[in-house]
Amino acid sequence: MGKSLFQKVWDNHRVGTLADGRTQLFIGTHLIHEVTSPQAFGMLRDLGLKVKFPQRTFATVDHIVPTVNQDAPQDPLAAAMMTALRDNADEFGVTYFDLSSGKQGIVHVVGPEQGITQPGTTIACGDSHTATHGAFGAIAFGIGTTQVRDVLATQTLALEALKVRRIEVNGQLPPGVYAKDVILHIIRLLGARGGIGYAYEYAGDVFARMSMEERMTVCNMSIEGGARCGYVNPDAKTVAYLRGRPYVDMTDFEATAAGWLAFASDADAHYDDIVRIDAAAIEPTVTWGISPDQGIAISEMIPDPAAAATQGERDSIVEALAYMKIPAGAPIKGVGIDVAFIGSCTNGRLSDFREVAKYLRGHKVAPGVTALAVPGSQIVAVQCEQEGLPQIFRDAGFEWRDAGCSMCLAMNPDKLVGDQLCASSSNRNFKGRQGSSTGRTVLMSPLMVAAAAVRGSIADAREVFALEPDASIV
């Protein structure tokens, strides 16, 4: 019996077995940011420890950076966090892509962009969306701050092996259906807890056709389905994307690439579970509730608690609808929005802005709607500039901002106010996620956010932008 990529990478990186039975796993690459690392460096100092392999750790600042006037004086707590990261990076000899580097951005955008993220490696970051890097066939874990300390001090983690679920999506995605819709659909089907104990392997011709950026969108949201990591097997696209990137060793690239491809799951690999999904059945998908698995197709009605199968389901629908202040049984299409946000580590890359710009020209953001476009990194921002995209967004009435996490979790000044409803390309619709304890989030693809911005309400992008049958990017 062959091995899955997960098993190959796991076996390869196993340092030993700990007394409690867990595996001590070598972590090839450690990514850190300002929110979850300062306490870890503090613990290191308390213990009198150094960073074991400083050259394997990379830092950037993303969560708390403002997206306008990034260098201007800002809130003192945010400034303290940035100073702490600077000081820690200097003291411990860690590479830091700071605001003046031209390479700063959301940690999960920066890693791939720099070619730090590579197939067959293990990656850890004090951030649950670290699974994003699985798009390259890496096994990438989100970890807590004490574990950040463990990786800093030892370049290893104490971990329990995961089971592997292969999720095959085959067939043709209909026009206007994007990677975001695919992952929202998967999470809807398997649930927010369905992936607990699993790594998700995304397979089938839909993922094979996807660009690297689309694969990142999918892997990014693995954690919203409960899976700690998710990956796509490396292929020619993976190799092409990485060729020539700053941190890719080009000395014998063909051999390196061959080594990467060898990590792909064997045809006869063992899986603990296999799920098959028909691509043709996936529609543009939006969330209606307060958990990412509370999703429906844009054509569907908001769930009615009266139709719930169990008491538990009924309770969660009632709770979600009360928070969202939307009526049971009514169409989701037409629900008014106040804010539109395109950005985040899920959908803040060049292809996301490109795809929206393709359709946005000639349209205007509806009166009363605040629309934000926030590139995921400084490099994405430059790439967008080079293609003239910011002007298209500005002409339509979007604010074009500087790189950062922004309204994905609102640790910077970009926040919802009161119970504003936000059409958002980010990954979490939890209560209060976007900075107001009563703020409401509806997750969707970037083009669906643009459609909502233009209509002033949740809308079907296929109608708003009169999508042609060949317009699908997959």
Binding site: N12, A19, Q39, M81, Q155, G312, K431
Partner: protein
């Protein structure tokens, strides 16, 4: 660095209703603007404990009957979402020593174990019975017996709970913080780094 074994934790309990309680709920992101974990306790569950005007809501943690509770009772998938260790840190600092739920999200579970806060899974039925007892008598003492994998109450409930063997072993043997053991294997770590061409 010898650590104290965690064989059992006891205290009064409080039930926080709902499935999929995420870590944004446990500690809203704006309270993570900090460079130490100190002081996080007072912000645990802040946005559900206080309304927009800063007034206390009807949340169980505001109910004086449950003041001083140190065992948290919860539903399915407790601690899902963000990996922020700020969440279990805030619960610890708020005064919780253990959690009994129908299930846990993995990262939260791991973070909590490393903070010596046992998280154990009980059946929906057993949890319902325990909640009923706690509701009738908030002073009842609930014990999580990590060694025996059981939960007990002063009112006579005694039922099985589960947690992964590795976590149980780590807690009861005082190895819940793995750092020393990880450090001890430095030779194997160095060899692996070379073998995989990471250095």
């Amino acid at each position: 660095m010898p650590l104290a074994p965690v064989t059992q934790v006891s205290g009064r309990a409080v039930y926080i209703p709902g499935a999929d309680i995420d870590t944004d709920r446990i500690i809203p992101a704006r309270f993570m603007k900090c460079i130490t974990f100190d002081g996080l306790g007072e912000f645990a569950f802040y946005d559900v404990r206080f309304d927009e005007h800063g007034q206390k809501t009807g949340h169980p943690l505001n109910d004086p009957r449950f003041a001083g509770a140190s065992i948290l009772l919860a539903g399915l998938n407790f601690g899902c979402g963000s990996s922020r260790e700020h969440a279990p840190q805030s619960l610890r600092k708020y005064g919780f020593n253990g959690v009994i739920a129908e299930s846990f999200a993995e990262i939260f579970f791991g973070n909590s174990t490393t903070l010596a806060m046992p998280c154990v899974i009980a059946s929906a039925g057993d949890l319902a019975a325990l909640r009923k007892e706690v509701d009738n008598d908030p002073a009842t003492v609930v014990t999580i017996d990590v060694v025996a994998r059981r939960a007990r109450s002063a009112g006579g409930l005694d039922f099985p709970v589960t947690l992964p063997e590795s976590a149980r072993e780590a807690l009861v043997s005082g190895r819940w913080d793995p750092i020393q053991e990880l450090l001890d294997n430095v030779a194997a770590i160095d060899a692996k780094a070379v073998e995989l061409h990471y250095v």
